[in-house]
Every structure is written in structure tokens, then in C-alpha cells.
Amino acid sequence: MTKNLLHTTLSVYLLYSLLILLIAAPVLYFATQQLYLQEADDTLLLHKKEFIQYVAPTMDKEDIGAWNKFNRNRKIYPAESLQNDSIYNTTYYDTLDAELEPYRELKASVTIQDRIYTYTSKINLVESEDIIKSIGLLFFITISVLLAGLFFITKRLSLSLWKPFYKILQQIETFEIDKTQTLQFTPGRIEEFNRLRISIQKLIERNTSIYATQKEFIENAAHELQTPLAVFQAKIDSLMQRTDVTQGQSEILDSLNTAVARFNRLNKNLLLLSKMENAVYSDKITISLTNYIHKNLDFFKEQANAKNIHIKIDIEKNMGIKLNPILADILISNLFLNAIKHNIQDGEIIISAKKGNLKFSNSGQAMPLKQEHLFNRFSKVNPSEDGTGLGLSIIKKIADINHFKVSYHYTSNLHSFTITF
């Protein structure tokens, strides 16, 4: 699956951001918690230091009861022996909130009037949880806003940054080498795009010029061939008039005649294709397809008679299309002759013209034609036949330059060529 440029950039950004968020959230949580515990421990130790330094020397045994009474978080109990300081987490039941609450507690040994006591000091950690939560939320909000902003800015920036690119892309997509059009690229601010533009411009210019040269060559070649062809034809015609031509020579002459006729047709059709490519037949008028089919019907019936082909016609009255009249004649004739040429003895041709479709169906070989190169120049179904191999490409060319559609179907033993106007 392909994605567009912007989409890809943004989804990579999004993925990265989510990953960072996922990793950062627990790390941040633990780090904050650790920091808070550190803070609590420091406070507890400071309190203890303060107690040992300032309170313990002034206390005597009787004060302990009062101390414990008025200090909720710091207690003194009698102890057996000296112990090292220990700090740990614990929970106490809070009678006010009626729930267990987490505490950080310090247990240390102190000496009051030469007796050993255990000193405990605790800090409620409920506040710390609240703070961590608040920090977490703030962090989440900040990150989200940052991401959204980043997303938005990237999108806006990319759109405007890539705008020339999309413009170039659109121009290339609509470019057709056989149309006489030039691509006009406007230079922009971004160096890479300008380079792209210049490269494409050069590429197109080079290709257009090669195409033009080739087109010109075909036209010139076809043109230049006409004079020697005329001499060839005239010489054969003259030779045929000689009375001393033997039977064997007659046969050779006949083959030459057929070959020169075919040569002539090929040349004319190549010229026709070249002329169409040079937009010679570009002026169109609205013509009645019906009239154009009927106009030469006698001629085609005559051709079809040789194979005893039955022609069935089913056309709408006054089906009008916009087309050059010369091309209309050529189109219909080629469709007709194609249907006759590839037909079988006692075959049939069905011509239907309705709803913007012109369809020529004919009986013929009992398998569908290969679609692949069907409309290419000189692509022949049967290479040995003496057609020019240009008929279908002429039909295609006429359709192309007038933006019609040509399609081929094979159903119930009929080969159909449909032109959609």
C-alpha cells in the first residue's frame, strides 16, 4: 500500500511521540517519587539531628510522656540496646480519614540522661502521591499540547513546502507527448524543487524533440517514397502493355502489382497517421453518424458480397457526433473493412449505433484476439495476410485524438469493436 508523503511524515512523528510518552511517563513517575522520598528522608534526619542537638540534652525522664502526648509524628520509647538508624515505608490507620495511609518513618536510637530510647519520626506520604499525580497530569498535558502543535505545524509547513512538488506532479500527470503543449514550470524558493523542475523540463524537452524528429521522419519518409513508388507503378503498368510477355513473366508482374498496391496503401496510411498526429484534422463539425454509415454502404456491401457476408444494421436515426468529416469517413470505412477482412465465408456483420456507442460485430476466427498489441501499428493477427496492419491503429488514433474510447470484446463467436463517444 502506498501512502502520501505528508501522511508518512506525520505518522512517523506520531509514533515517535507516543513511544516517548510511554517511556517518559513511568520514568517520570518513579523519579518524582524517588525525589519526594529523598526529601522526606532528609526532613526526617534533619528533625532527628535537631532533636539530638537541641531537645534531648534538655529533656529528662518525666518529659517523655508529655513529648509523646503532644507530638503526633514523633515518639520516644524506651529501648534495650543501641540500634542503627533505619528509614522505611509503613502504613498507619488514620482515624480522621478512616483509612490506611502511607508513611515514611525513621527509627533511631537516642540517649536521654544516659538511658537509651528509640526515637521514631514519620511523615505522611499522601500529599506526595497527590503531588506526583498533579505533576504527571501536567506533564501529560504539556506533552499533548506540544505534540498537537508539532503535528499541526508540520502539516502546515509540509503542505506549503511540498506545494511546488505537488504542482510539478500534477503537470507531469497531465502531460502527453503527442499533444502540442509545452509545460510551464514557475521557479520557486526551494532549491531542490528548482533542480527537479529543471531536470524534468530538460527531460521533457529532449523527449518531445526526439518524438517530433521521429514523427517528422515517418512523414518525410512516406512522402519521399511517393515519387519512386510512382515510377515503380508506371513501369509495371508499361511492362504489362508489352505483347511479348510470357506466362511466367505475367505471374511475376501480377505479384509485383499486388506488392506495389500494398506498398502504396501502407505508405498512404502511414502518412494519414502522421497527419493525425500533427493535428491536421482537428476542425470538427457535428455530423450524422447514420448518414456516414449509409453513405458508403453500397460499396461495403459489394465488398462483403465476395464472402457472402450478411450485414445487419441497427442504428438510431440522427445520431450526431462531433468529428472531422474526413476522419468520420476513414473511421467508418476502417471499421467496415476490418469487419469484412477478418470475416469468414457466409459470415455476418452487425452494426449497432445507439446511446453514444458505435459497435461493429463480426464473425471470424473462433477465439478471441489477443488484446495486448491489438491496436499497435503493424500488429497483425495473422502475419501472412496482406493487410497493412494499420487499420486498427488508425481507428485507435482517431478515437484518441477525439477523446473517444475504443474497446474490443469477444462474445458468442462475435468479435466486437465498440467506439464510445
Binding site: 515519387t227 515510377v231 504489362m240 502504396n264 496503401r265 473493412l337
Partner: protein
């Protein structure tokens, strides 16, 4: 009949000249514009065959010269230029017909005959061959003064055959003559046989002699025995 052929391709010119020089036709040949203009101003011709691309100029200039001199010769342009614009320009300046190269010599001959007929016989355009009488304007054929039923194509074929009397006509030449603009697309000439057969039958039934001969391997010939 006097013809002037203006054509710079020597081999083609020789073939045309040979084919046309026959019976009452005389064909002179020049290959330069200057020679052509000289000849035209000195002599009268029935028909001028004009190539457009000449070594020392354009055929259109000769055409203009002929018109400037108020000459009434029939003019047929024979050229490799096949664009509609060139043809229209040719007719606009005053050509009577336009034949694109390559062409069959038989086609050129019947075009010349048709042009001369149009020029010479005012409103009375009739071709007679022994017992056969063809009225071109009313498109009717009479054999021994009896009207026979023929199609437009058959009259066309008949004129073509008679016009090329004693010359061998190939099937492709006949096919191209009969199919006109369609000739460039046609690659099957079998229909010629059917037309010849029909025409032959109709003429024979009306009592005409059999002038249409098959020439083995080549085509047909109109021959007056």
C-alpha cells in the same frame, strides 16, 4: 489531341509519354518551368499535365501563368503532395483535376479523356465505340440503339475500359479506379471480377460483341478484334 507533360522525374515522364502517345494523342514532355512556360505561350494544347515540384520553380507559378495568358487548356495536376490544402489551392488557381502520385497510367488516361470531353463537347457528352453508345450526362448506355440497364459503377467501368482500349489493366488498377477514395484502405480486389462479369453479361445480352478479354495472370483488356 496535343498534351504537354511537365514532370521532372525522367523515368516517370517517359512511361507516361509512352502510354499516352497512342492513336490521336501526341504528348510532349518538358521538365523545367522555364521550358514549360515557353511551350505554353507558343502552342495550343488540349491538356496540360503539371507536376508541382520542379527544379527551377513551383508548378503553381506555371498554373498562374497559363491563367494570366487567358489560355483555355485543361490542366491536371500530378503531384506527390496529397494534402487537402494543396489540392484546394490547385483548384482555386484553376486546375481542373488533381491526381496524387503514385497513380496508374490507365487512371491518368481516363482523367485526361474525361477532361477533354468536358472541355470540347458542350452539353453533349457522348462516347461511342462501334455499337456501344454511352451518354455520360444522362448516364445511359445503348447497344445498337437499345437502352440497357446498367449501374453507375458499370458505366464507370465501361468508360474506363473503353478509354484504355488495347491496354492491359490490372485488377488492382481497376479496383482503385472503382473505389475512389476508399482505394487506400482496400486490400481485396475480388469484387472487380464480379463487376466485369456483370458488365460483360449485360453487353452480350444486348447484342454487343465481346470486347472484354481476360489477360492471363494480369487482368483485363478492351480489344476491338
Amino acid at each position: 489531341m496535343k498534351l504537354l507533360l511537365i514532370e521532372d522525374e525522367k523515368e516517370l515522364a517517359l512511361s507516361i509519354q509512352k502510354y499516352l502517345t497512342h492513336k490521336d494523342f501526341v504528348c510532349e514532355w518538358v521538365y523545367k518551368k522555364q521550358d514549360a512556360i515557353e511551350k505554353i505561350s507558343m502552342y495550343e494544347y488540349d491538356c496540360i499535365l503539371l507536376d508541382l515540384m520542379l527544379p527551377d520553380g513551383n508548378g503553381f507559378e506555371i498554373l498562374k501563368e497559363i491563367k494570366d495568358q487567358n489560355k483555355s487548356e485543361g490542366i491536371i495536376i500530378i503531384s506527390a503532395k496529397e494534402t487537402l490544402e494543396t489540392k484546394i489551392e490547385g483548384f482555386r488557381i484553376g486546375a481542373d483535376d488533381y491526381l496524387t502520385k503514385p497513380f496508374h497510367l490507365s487512371e491518368l488516361l481516363v482523367r485526361i479523356q474525361a477532361l477533354i470531353r468536358r472541355k470540347n463537347f458542350n452539353g453533349n457528352n457522348i462516347v461511342v465505340f462501334n455499337e456501344i453508345n454511352i451518354d455520360i450526362l444522362s448516364k445511359t448506355v445503348r447497344v445498337n440503339n437499345k437502352l440497357i440497364d446498367t449501374t453507375k459503377k458499370e458505366i464507370d467501368l465501361l468508360l474506363y475500359l473503353i478509354g484504355n482500349e488495347n491496354r492491359v489493366l490490372s485488377k488492382s488498377a481497376i479496383a482503385e479506379h472503382l473505389s475512389g477514395d476508399m482505394a487506400d484502405m482496400l486490400d481485396n480486389h475480388d469484387f472487380v471480377y464480379a463487376h466485369i462479369k456483370n458488365l460483360k453479361k449485360k453487353l452480350n445480352e444486348a447484342g454487343s460483341r465481346d470486347y472484354i478479354k481476360s489477360v492471363y495472370g494480369l487482368g483485363y483488356k478492351w480489344k476491338n478484334d
